[in-house]
């Protein structure tokens, strides 16, 4: 589809993911072992034969730049194809950071215009799904819509206060929309994926740039179009998730497991760039004689001498002899030393769980005190490069911040709900 370009919003830091987004934008957070969140949007774009993509990013974009490279995993190299990272830039007196999703696209309308697309697909870089956009484009054009928004049937109880809900008439036309209502009037939640007719997008964004205050597509541009433009809804019935907390991030990983995983990586054909430290490629997964691996997903370069159950391990993770990892997510090159136990935890890149240390023990009593919205479901988070020294114990809903070293540990245990910072501060 030469005449559609995709603009992927990948800028946000998203506080709810706590230490996971301290060093990277959410779109670059690893997911599913060897992937990053943005691979899901990019793979759907690639499988829909969309060849021109802009990635809007402003928060610590370096891992995203590395990951995108020249875009060849997603067929984004060639004539009429390409992926471009679009950071904020200084141009004139009005230069400023991206003030919101609408403003980010607005500031890059020059990129859109240069390629003269008929329609512009605006996506988020941090959603997990697999979608074919071609039928959406087809229906959009056939109906003469100015905007087609993707919605999903959702229990209003679960989505209230979190999602925008659309009211749709029998003909598929959106007749009402409320942003994060406490009592939704429909069951159709917006997935913040939009297909705009280019001229309409340009006009509405210019308007919003003059008169807006939040500069968000969902809270300003979309409501302003209702009643004036032809807005339609496309219902997505497949899997879709969005990790808005450490708990949700953990839960989405559990969707990769079981007899029939809700996220079927083999069938979805997700594409990624294999990134790894060191010159060599990650070797095939190695299981030692005494290893036990059940109901888990292990990426290349993983070495297991202990036990791994109901867990997802990224490339280069090591689980030493006698260590037991259950219901957990271990990101790149994390090490669980011999005799350690890790239960219901997320361990970020290069995290080290020392010999006989325990992460995730005891009953789940109350949320993390520093980040009660992000960490409340019982999952503990060990930040990037942080160490839990040998023999130490970490309870539930704990946060060990990025880069915490052995010397930062004063007490033998971090009780449930507590956080440990780099200077040894416990909160």
């Amino acid at each position: 589809m030469r005449d559609v370009i995709a603009m992927i919003l990948a800028g946000g830091r998203v506080e709810e993911l706590a230490a996971l987004t301290q060093a990277r934008p959410k779109a670059a957070v690893p997911f599913g072992g060897q992937y990053r969140f943005i691979d899901f949007a990019l793979s759907s774009v690639a499988h829909s034969d969309i060849g021109r993509v802009g990635v809007l990013s402003q928060y610590r974009p370096s891992s995203l730049i590395d990951h995108l490279g020249t875009g060849e995993p997603w067929d984004l190299v060639g004539r009429g194809r390409g992926v471009k990272l679009l950071p904020p830039f200084v141009a004139d007196a009005q230069s400023h950071w991206y003030r919101g999703t609408a403003d980010a696209v607005y500031q890059n309308l020059h990129f859109v215009r240069r390629h003269k697309p008929r329609d512009v697909l605006v996506l988020s870089g941090d959603h997990v799904y697999r979608m074919d956009f071609r039928p959406i484009v087809e229906a959009h054009r056939k109906s003469g819509a100015d905007l087609t928004m993707v919605v999903k049937d959702m229990d209003p109880e679960l989505g209230r206060g979190r999602f925008g809900f659309a009211e749709v008439d029998a003909g598929g036309r959106v007749v009402g929309y409320e942003e994060k209502p406490e009592r939704p009037r429909s069951r159709l939640a917006s997935l913040t994926m939009y297909l705009f007719r280019t001229e309409v997008l340009e006009a509405r964004l210019e308007e919003n740039a003059r008169t807006g205050s939040s500069f968000q597509l969902y809270s300003e541009v979309l409501p302003a179009m209702l009643g004036r433009d032809h807005v339609r809804a496309h219902r997505h019935d497949g899997y879709w998730s969005y990790a808005r907390s450490v708990d949700a991030y953990h839960q989405a990983h559990m969707d990769l497991l079981g007899e029939r995983p809700a996220i079927d990586l083999a069938r979805w054909e997700i594409r990624s760039r294999a990134e790894h430290a060191g010159l060599g490629d990650p070797a095939p997964v190695w299981c030692a004689s005494a290893a036990r691996c059940q109901d888990c997903v292990l990426s290349p370069g993983v070495r297991v001498e202990g036990e791994v159950r109901r867990s997802v391990l990224s490339p280069g993770v090591r689980v030493e002899a006698g260590a037991v990892v259950t219901d957990s997510v271990l990101l790149h090159d994390a090490v669980v030393r011999s005799g350690a136990r890790v239960d219901r935890a997320v361990v970020d890149k290069f995290g080290v769980i020392g010999e006989r240390a325990v992460v995730g023990e005891g009953p789940c009593e109350g949320a993390n005190r520093a980040l009660p919205d992000a960490i409340r479901g019982g999952v503990s988070l060990v930040g990037k490069g942080a160490e839990v020294p040998s023999g130490r114990r970490v309870g539930r809903n704990c946060l060990v911040e990025m880069g915490v070293q052995a010397g930062d540990w004063r007490a033998p245990a971090l009780e449930s709900g507590a956080s440990l910072g780099r200077a040894g501060g416990v909160s």
Partner: protein, 424 residues
């Protein structure tokens, strides 16, 4: 000092690998899960930071060329680096197939001249090892050698498999014998040569151009020995020629335990990811009742049964209740529920039907057709063959590529070979 030019011999058919080399050259045979044999030589080239490689191909080079791509996986892409595939071409004669290793190099003297090398490193693409060629080249230069040959010690009973060398106290080679029954030396040639370029060209002119010989080990090396300027470079790491079914299998098992010396992680082996599917191979998936011990599993594997002491290439499926023991399963092999596979090598895309049994491990009845492969009791199944449900296959058996269920007469006894019936 100019970095030496690498000439990599990758043309061999490797007939003693039987059906595994039916459709590909030996260097292109998958090994250790995600790699191909040639990756080990290319990895050594990369880590030695040698920028130019000529790859000499002849026998069924397609998989090899596909695998090499433009060489970026081994840092061989750039303004001042690169890889050139050098297939045979017609010259003055209508067809100049390579007649031997030295002949292959001689026919590409124009390529070498164009690179104006001071030295040439000649390698073979079918060995599993990790070696720093820079140390060998340094030693070669220090000694002022015309030719240096990498050597290692082998057991006295193995001398008949190697070119054996005798050296003096300074490491100068004084005598050479090709595959002697017995020898009072333990130094074997590893087929790795560093030549001063003028000395190489002169030897090729004298011997190959005058049709006196066309092989490095048999003809070039003995001729150069007379000049007294040929040295041995000692190597004592892991090195295997995986030229037979038995040696291929045992080297494969070595990658299950780094104490064998074959240390995939430590060696930093580089390979090119070949995409045969629309998406990437996902991570390895283990079912709730999987039992996996001492195994290598590549991306895309899905294990619901039991896997012990085995090496699995990308995309292999082992169904519930299936048992795989001491086996090598190449890309996309499928072991259906309840099937048992023991001491077997399955090429790409082989399907073992539910409840079928591949029962390798007994070396009692010789396989006559493939005796020279040193079957060692293995079951070897060619690319894409489909073994019917419940079928029993004995040891020392070879099932050729492309067999369909209907091609099976029933169970196959020890030593049997099954060939694809000619389809009308």
């Amino acid at each position: 000092m100019k970095k030496p030019l690498v000439m990599l011999l990758a043309g061999g058919g490797g007939t003693r690998l039987g059906v595994l080399v039916k459709q590909r050259a030996k260097p292109a045979v998958p090994f250790a899960g995600r790699y191909r044999i040639i990756d080990f030589a290319l990895t050594n080239v990369m880590h030695a930071q040698l920028p130019w490689v000529g790859v000499l191909t002849q026998y069924k080079p397609l998989s090899l060329m596909e695998h090499m791509g433009v060489g970026e996986a081994w840092n061989l892409q750039g303004r001042s680096r690169g890889v050139r595939i050098l297939p045979p071409r017609t010259g003055e004669a209508d067809s100049d197939w390579y007649q031997g290793t030295a002949d292959a190099i001689w026919q590409n003297v124009d390529f070498m001249d164009s690179m104006a090398p001071e030295r040439v490193v000649i390698l073979s693409g079918d060995h599993i090892y990790r070696m720093d060629y820079r140390r060998m080249v340094e030693e070669h230069v220090e000694r002022g050698a015309a030719l240096s040959i990498a050597v290692m010690e082998v057991a006295p009973e193995d001398t008949s498999r190697f070119g054996m060398l005798w050296t003096d106290a300074r490491g100068r080679i004084t005598r050479f014998e090709e595959k002697p029954k017995a020898a009072d030396t333990r130094l074997a040639s590893m087929g790795i040569y560093v030549f001063e370029y003028p000395a190489l060209v002169k030897a090729l002119q004298d011997i190959v151009a005058t049709k006196q010989g066309n092989d490095f080990g048999a003809h070039i090396m003995p001729a150069l020995l007379a000049g007294g300027n040929v040295y041995a470079h000692r190597f004592d790491g892991y090195w295997r020629d995986v030229g037979t079914v038995s040696s291929y299998f045992h080297a494969s098992m070595d990658c299950l335990d780094a104490s064998s010396g074959l240390d995939l992680e430590g060696w930093e082996v580089c390979s090119r990811q070949e995409t045969l599917r629309d998406g990437d191979m996902p991570p390895v998936r283990f079912g709730a009742r999987a039992e996996v011990g001492k195994a290598r599993l590549s991306a895309g594997c899905w294990i619901e049964g039991r896997v012990q002491g085995s090496v699995l290439s990308p995309g292999v499926q082992v169904g519930p209740g299936a048992v795989v023991e001491e086996a090598v399963l190449m890309d996309g092999a499928v072991i259906r529920p309840g099937a048992r596979v023991r001491r077997a090598i399955l090429d790409k895309g082989v399907v073992v039907g539910a409840g079928a049994v591949l029962d390798g491990g007994r070396d009692e009845v010789t396989n006559k057709e493939y005796a020279k492969c040193q079957m060692d009791g293995m079951v070897v199944v060619g690319k894409g063959s489909r073994i019917p449900e419940g079928c029993r296959v004995g040891s020392n058996t070879v099932l050729e590529a492309g067999l369909q269920e209907a091609d099976f007469p029933g169970d196959l006894p020890d030593g049997a070979t099954l060939v694809r019936r000619a389809h009308p």
